[in-house]
Subunit: 500 residues, 4 copies
Amino acid sequence: MTITSPAAPSAESPSTAPFAVADLSLAEAGRHQIRLAENEMPGLMALREEFGPTQPLAGARIAGSLHMTVQTAVLIETLVALGAQVRWASCNIFSTQDEAAAAIAVGPNGTADAPAGVPVFAWKGETLTEYWWATSRIFDWSAEAAEAGGDWTGPNLILDDGGDATLLVHKGVEFEAAGSVPAAAEGDSEEYRVILDVLRRSLSESDDRWTRISRDLLGVTEETTTGVHRLYELHRDGDLLFPAINVNDSVTKSKFDNKYGIRHSLPDGLNRATDVLIGGKVALVAGYGDVGKGAAEALRGQGARVIVTEVDPICALQAAMDGYQVARLESVVGDVDIFVSGTGNKSVITTEHMLAMKHLAIVANVGHFDNEIDMDGLAHVDGAERVEIKPQVHEWRFPTGRSILVLSEGRLMNLGNATGHPSFVMSNSFTNQVLAQIELYTRREEYPIGVYVLPKHLDEKVARLHLDALGVELTELTPEQAAYIGVPTDGPFKVDHYRY
Amino acid sequence: MTITSPAAPSAESPSTAPFAVADLSLAEAGRHQIRLAENEMPGLMALREEFGPTQPLAGARIAGSLHMTVQTAVLIETLVALGAQVRWASCNIFSTQDEAAAAIAVGPNGTADAPAGVPVFAWKGETLTEYWWATSRIFDWSAEAAEAGGDWTGPNLILDDGGDATLLVHKGVEFEAAGSVPAAAEGDSEEYRVILDVLRRSLSESDDRWTRISRDLLGVTEETTTGVHRLYELHRDGDLLFPAINVNDSVTKSKFDNKYGIRHSLPDGLNRATDVLIGGKVALVAGYGDVGKGAAEALRGQGARVIVTEVDPICALQAAMDGYQVARLESVVGDVDIFVSGTGNKSVITTEHMLAMKHLAIVANVGHFDNEIDMDGLAHVDGAERVEIKPQVHEWRFPTGRSILVLSEGRLMNLGNATGHPSFVMSNSFTNQVLAQIELYTRREEYPIGVYVLPKHLDEKVARLHLDALGVELTELTPEQAAYIGVPTDGPFKVDHYRY
Amino acid sequence: MTITSPAAPSAESPSTAPFAVADLSLAEAGRHQIRLAENEMPGLMALREEFGPTQPLAGARIAGSLHMTVQTAVLIETLVALGAQVRWASCNIFSTQDEAAAAIAVGPNGTADAPAGVPVFAWKGETLTEYWWATSRIFDWSAEAAEAGGDWTGPNLILDDGGDATLLVHKGVEFEAAGSVPAAAEGDSEEYRVILDVLRRSLSESDDRWTRISRDLLGVTEETTTGVHRLYELHRDGDLLFPAINVNDSVTKSKFDNKYGIRHSLPDGLNRATDVLIGGKVALVAGYGDVGKGAAEALRGQGARVIVTEVDPICALQAAMDGYQVARLESVVGDVDIFVSGTGNKSVITTEHMLAMKHLAIVANVGHFDNEIDMDGLAHVDGAERVEIKPQVHEWRFPTGRSILVLSEGRLMNLGNATGHPSFVMSNSFTNQVLAQIELYTRREEYPIGVYVLPKHLDEKVARLHLDALGVELTELTPEQAAYIGVPTDGPFKVDHYRY
Amino acid sequence: MTITSPAAPSAESPSTAPFAVADLSLAEAGRHQIRLAENEMPGLMALREEFGPTQPLAGARIAGSLHMTVQTAVLIETLVALGAQVRWASCNIFSTQDEAAAAIAVGPNGTADAPAGVPVFAWKGETLTEYWWATSRIFDWSAEAAEAGGDWTGPNLILDDGGDATLLVHKGVEFEAAGSVPAAAEGDSEEYRVILDVLRRSLSESDDRWTRISRDLLGVTEETTTGVHRLYELHRDGDLLFPAINVNDSVTKSKFDNKYGIRHSLPDGLNRATDVLIGGKVALVAGYGDVGKGAAEALRGQGARVIVTEVDPICALQAAMDGYQVARLESVVGDVDIFVSGTGNKSVITTEHMLAMKHLAIVANVGHFDNEIDMDGLAHVDGAERVEIKPQVHEWRFPTGRSILVLSEGRLMNLGNATGHPSFVMSNSFTNQVLAQIELYTRREEYPIGVYVLPKHLDEKVARLHLDALGVELTELTPEQAAYIGVPTDGPFKVDHYRY
């Protein structure tokens, strides 16, 4: 592995090395942060202790596509500690923390000259071409195969966040079967054109590369709503090529990541972006799912008056029972100081809404894509002017004389203006990921092609591994009590449809 | 229907009339309360408005077995308003509110001499014999059959709370098939002996009464965890005789009844029982399911410091994330002023625990049966003395010189020391019941024998019917938004496993 | 002391005995409750332990005028335990708990035939004539004087709640100086006429009775806002006859009694009165002083959405900072389910407001007098009808077709519908009272005529005596720390104007 | 005014120009931020509107010594808008925001070549010598005097934060009276030596400079606890040279700044410093005054379990009543994840405590000086190693193998790790400052030498000016209501000792 600059790979010469460090200070800074993060990721550290001796992932070759952050570094090193070989790319062009990538590339015991870490294909601020080049590189295990004398060319497991790695394999197989990669159609996005280019080049080099890769794959573990949605669609249509574990719907992922993660990072992002006092303000939270519940709790906890908007009458009733006003956005738009969108739907905050807001109202999205807020419409408002206050904070000045502040250009502000979910939350999600990888690798016969959620006893295990760090004492059922409610003394304790 | 005294039916002459009123003042008092309750039960009132004109329950003969309270009165009159004929018994020997029973028996337009209401077989403080006599009477529709020239003898629907009515039919059919009712076995409870007596008498009068009743039954709707559990067992064993709708697991039942109902009635019961300041006290909540979540929130809302005990690591982690100390009861027993059990398990608070408590610690159960607290063990503590402070509040004096206060003799204190769930909560549960009855009656072909939860769109409908009363404005999806997330514009909005 | 019936003293024969018990069961019931209350009144019990041996109140003759409740019983027995002789009347015609009065009259070791308690002139439901007769009787210490061979005829201390006992002395002295009691003037209240009658009769019996009593008085301790207000006015006008300690403005009285007492008893009263679910409702709290702060916190803690009204911009800003909507009552009157008045002002909720409310809106006062709500205007609404739902709960039906529910006829509903402040709160107030009595009695030379608040070190002592019961560990300043902030190591810790 | 570099003034040539900008981009960035801050400082903006036309500060020459931040820029421009001339220095060597200083120096309509703003002597990272040079420069009004033909040399008002400007005058006068500046004594701090140097040079130039300045001073307005404390001491000792208004004890300063300011900035600082999830953690708050109350509320609002330590039994009881565990630090030190000190005392967190903490426990001070945490002791722990994680975040590694994280080197972390109080909070404090300046200037005859708090009607006015921005509707008393409680209809509404 050549250790050069992180900017080395480029569209023009995209076949160069993975993430590389010009000097070690970046890697050292990353190593500090990894060490602190380990203290906040007790689930992963407990897995190292429990499974380190037995090496359940020995022989596993994991292609990872997930934000290359400090927390992910702890995940990667946990996979390695359990015996796996790993190659990694980010799943987002902006989300890589270069110091984390550097530290992982160098490894805990490596040096700049003799890196002993994991090949990482990720740096902050990739182009789309670079991004898909990086993603394709996590499937190229020829060096490892050569070294091990293996007859394979790719990974045997995918660890996915958003489904891009999975998509690449499926599209690759599809086009290899067709014998050609189609030309881009008129409505195709820029990104899809890049994907077609990557696969066209691949097909020109090999007519069965992805097909062979696909055959070796024992499965994928996926942790996003979007990625899981695609997997269910693929399976419904009979197109899924390998088993998939839906990590997203583990209670310890969905409830914790969404509710407690947002409760933490929403006010953090608001503060870093604006320094505006939240107390006393009127805040509107669009959507009262787990994200909205966490957002509303955080804002109330800072002394804001929270108004909720909802389309689902059950969630609306929950919001009312929790003491929030529930209103249509139109009814209250002129009273609100802070707008927070957390729905997963589009056009939740429209241009019309934005034009009717108070002067310097803040517009923030913690839901999903940037289309929750009509950024496109905003860009086309006659006479509107966009002024950058600082990176990720823009004032939009309207001809009405009023302005609004839009955070992170309408994208997820807990990532753009804050630092995303804290390590402890990610420890829950990632412990699910590791357990899912172990499931697929060690109990592969129990997972024919399909989409699975983790069994409840593993979901409970994830929780269990995070209790000591919080000083939680767990009570144990007596055998008599367990028999009385008809469960094993050590769980699982609930029926599958239990709502928590 | 003869209008005499509510105490008239007795073990000695159990075939006498249903609930009856000696004078009208009781019924009038009940009518006042019903009128106030209607204002708090918007779901039921909305159903009257929506379905009154089309009478979807015309022809339905409903046998109801559910606490005969003011709220149930509003339920009964809703069923009648939708066209049903109804006969009613309570599902608990203590829970009848006599004024509600009287008002229902007389009916909104009846008089003591010419009652125009519903036959009600329920009064406060029944014996077990009286209770099962009353339950059997809701299956005797001979008078109605005679009047209508019908060829049936029983109901065509059961509305159940706890499963006693359903049990009676199943046992009746079983013994009729066997040709005899067995003698009570040694370990049989007193209550089961009473049931055997009832069915023995029935069999001596008719060898196919319950079999014929069973054949006419389109199904049962059941709203308790216990009752639902029995139904699933019956179905699993192939013994279920008719379809059943599990109302208990509607979100608008389980989440609202358990969480928001307990949040209301726990402090209410503590206050009425003890008048002890909750603020500043240390309170322990055993169990952090929906009941425990509601209990903990209520106690914190009054300024108590709350400690949670849990066996399920996921719920334990939730409690920690919500800011509560999670400990084993043994670790903190001497620090706690108020113990609240809400687990649904047995022996949660043991005799040993109680002997170690602070002087005059309060012990309260909002979980399930009185065996959550080891009342039996308590009764056998050497030298312990039980002093009644007032009804449902007992001081147990220990030889240690310390005492504890046990509420409602270890039974549900939100019923025993307070007045149970408030009307608005029951409106949610009962609106589910009515919709379930309509489902079974009008769409019977879609419900072959089995146990069903209400379809999500009806669960959402229940919520929807309660929004106006709280001033909630619901947002509507645009067709584009609905398409974007792949749901109809008017719902259902969530996948079945969504956890709320 | 003759032990007869509590109803024995009457307007016709007002010179009969104090509270008396026909049989002992009432006293025994009261004794049970006193024993439980002692556990919740750690401040008073600690005073017994600290001061019992030294008897600082030996020789003190205390005339008490304060609600004769179970909590007051613990206060009285504390005064006795510190050496005082006591005579007692209630300060409200309705507030006496007869079982507490009976238990106090009998005394812990007395019997019905040989009562060994304190002369108590109080029973539930006195007439005004009876009330003022009872108040006058606590000044008649002739029996005690005779027994002790004392040359006095009255008490040497007053313990007052509302200032009635103090008023009687001042008016008595005034009229004795004038030589006659004036006839009632046209606008005089019925109650003032009764007072004039009492004093006219007194003057006819002795021309210097009150003057002599006044001379012996070392002072009064007063615990209400109203009573304290009168004392400051008397002193300002040069009319105050003896020193007064303002117990009301101790932090451990005003903050605790108002904020934490109301937080407890407001929802308690709402529940007992109406059983209406508070969760999800819109509640309006008029006034955001300590009472309003406690009320708002309680309602939010039960899941209500709280709107505050305020006239003071500082308190209004506090409410906003605490996350509440602050609005004028007129702006939101039609949205509110529960109205709570806690201002201490009059006409806060007007007839116009009430006519505009939602059907069955609840109107409750926890502020001061019943004129916070315009009950008089309500009684004069054309066509309005008042229906008693149950005692202290009235439906007012308006010609509009809507009704409202008025609790406790507009008087303090935490007393009328609930049981007033819980023992722990009263323990704070009463510990202040006892310390104030000790101050006046043992350090009389430091209190020339004037109105005083308790020195801060005693206020802190009151708090200190309540910590152990709550498991609070207090930190101690090191001498270096104390010197650094310029306070003694054991306090007082704050400047006098500190706001807590 | 020469516009050169901000670093121009130095110890060697300390007589050079005030803050100066090399290019305008810094000033432009500051201007953007000032504009946004104005929206969050409605009190100051309202003063401009109310008093702009009448120019009450025309003729006022204000020497300001207060952190030169964006918020202070809005304050300065408000003073100017009311007619004042202003010279400004920071009151802290680190707290200047250079872009704010630049914008103020240039002025809203100035240019780099033709600055039209206020002379500002402040930049981020001054030395002590530079700091006191800058402070002395705000007293040099010779240029202004020359331009106006005035016979004065100094300001006629001081606006102070911490008392440094006031100290300089008092010391200057003292030494001029003595005729010499003493040599530094052995224990004198480095800072005091710098002050002596400044005054020694002054005395060598003029023997009555400070005496003449002092004579012209109408007074000082001071907003810190420490500064106010010094003023009371000076006055007690008969040394105060001019009247002082204690702005610190306005309710709208102390309660808002301390409670709501800390509620905002404590979690902000924790997040920026560590990104550690607060939810589920155990947090200890030392001190339950206004700062502690805000801190505890913020941490609970993020889902932490909060333990409070207190020395004052009243505040301890409040903490218990608010539902917090109250313990001695020693009792719980090993369970706590986040330590927050907010006492105003020293040695609250000792070296012994720190050595006993959990691995990577966080130590943060929001109280007062850095001696709340024994930083000195920490530096002397044998074998301890200090590792900078990032600026203001240090890991201290102990020989025990455990580490702790110390924020802002023990100084105020809401300043060091976050951005201090948000604009809205400062708007309250600064509106008090402006009103106090107007009082001293326009009603000087009512303020003989002494220390005063602002009259309550002005405190209420400050609150009032912040209500509209929060959408608060204030209720107005009717004349009848005002008379009933004995206050004017437009306030003041409370007695002086009211605690809010």
